[in-house]
Subunit: 240 residues, 2 copies
Amino acid sequence: MREEEIKNLIDFMKQLGYNFCDPKLLFTALCHSSYAHEERQRGRKDVESNERLEFLGDAVVDFLIAEHLYKNYPQSPEGVMSKIKAAAASEDALALIAKDIGLNRHIFLGHGEELNNGRERESILSGALEALAAALYLDGGMKPVKEILVPHMVRYIEQIAAGNIVFDHKTALQELAQEKYKTLPEYVLVREEGPAHMKKFFVEVRLKGRSLATGEGSSIKDAEKNAARLALERLKEMED
Amino acid sequence: MREEEIKNLIDFMKQLGYNFCDPKLLFTALCHSSYAHEERQRGRKDVESNERLEFLGDAVVDFLIAEHLYKNYPQSPEGVMSKIKAAAASEDALALIAKDIGLNRHIFLGHGEELNNGRERESILSGALEALAAALYLDGGMKPVKEILVPHMVRYIEQIAAGNIVFDHKTALQELAQEKYKTLPEYVLVREEGPAHMKKFFVEVRLKGRSLATGEGSSIKDAEKNAARLALERLKEMED
């Protein structure tokens, strides 16, 4: 690691109030694929992107939210808990938590992404937050994740449960489709563009086989979300 | 609990090699909603369906599969792990595990579901398996889940990773269609039969407007899955 990278890690660990036994885990959690790609092109071999950690962290976050809901909302049936979980684990919510804990200032980004406003992008922020959850879990078990990240999740869970925030356009579209059209929206990846490290995805959302909208995004998830948001707008227009 | 219910629990705990500190957790994990519904109509208040446990267990299973993949497939990028996880956590795979551990013989089902062949239904089997994972977790932490259920999951993960089993027929068909025919399969609901509580759905899958197969199922999802499976078989026959 370079000196300024190490400095960044030390700053962030202070802010978190947690010292990693294996700081390399934290380093990897903070490395966006655009940074890993650039650094590897420069010949460095010690830089891995946070994508594999994000994969594990996604499951860690889901599990902790599910456990919190199961234990603290004993009167809520499965359907209600599922909805709250979908919103609390959404990119939007996780991106907010990333900002709450100052993670956005510590992510390592490639130059292109930095110029492209990547530090504000929800997919990048939420991905890094999931990667951080995995890094904490691998470093110290569930305990540090519960102490450091879960309190933030709980704050959003409570607001979502109280109906004070709506995060999830996909869920909103699904509910509308079921209620009004007795069917479920279908998301189909229709196109991919660009080189591997700057891919764009285009997802079409359909209702009963009919295309409603196409969303684009830097991940399939993002593209789906955008498609759902556009579809909701379109359905509203059709109603009016 | 009734005597025959307790007997059933004892039998199953012997089979699992695990004694629950709180057998009520196991009882709830085994209670399908159809059974809980019938028993509550008879005035019993101690019977809860396994749906809330299924919600938590879904996240427990996902997390354990993700952790296994992260630790044991260090060379696999996120996309590959995601595909394997989707297949390993699919209803099909979890229903097979439910049969492997004999869970199918111990589920409490309502009379209607029993007559309707519910004991063979994948959604019921996989739901009960997830509920069992949650019950084990709540009773003894991750340890019993890892000892009792994870080895079964690993067996399927290995077969999926080696390409020996395909669980997610819809994804497999989509990939094949994109690769070979530069198009996406289209699913069309062509018919519904039967009364509301015992509906059958028929979904046709088409490639470039041409019908490939029709699948039936007790839900649209099931019917689509069956259609995809049949379509894959048909495409293979056409190749041979």
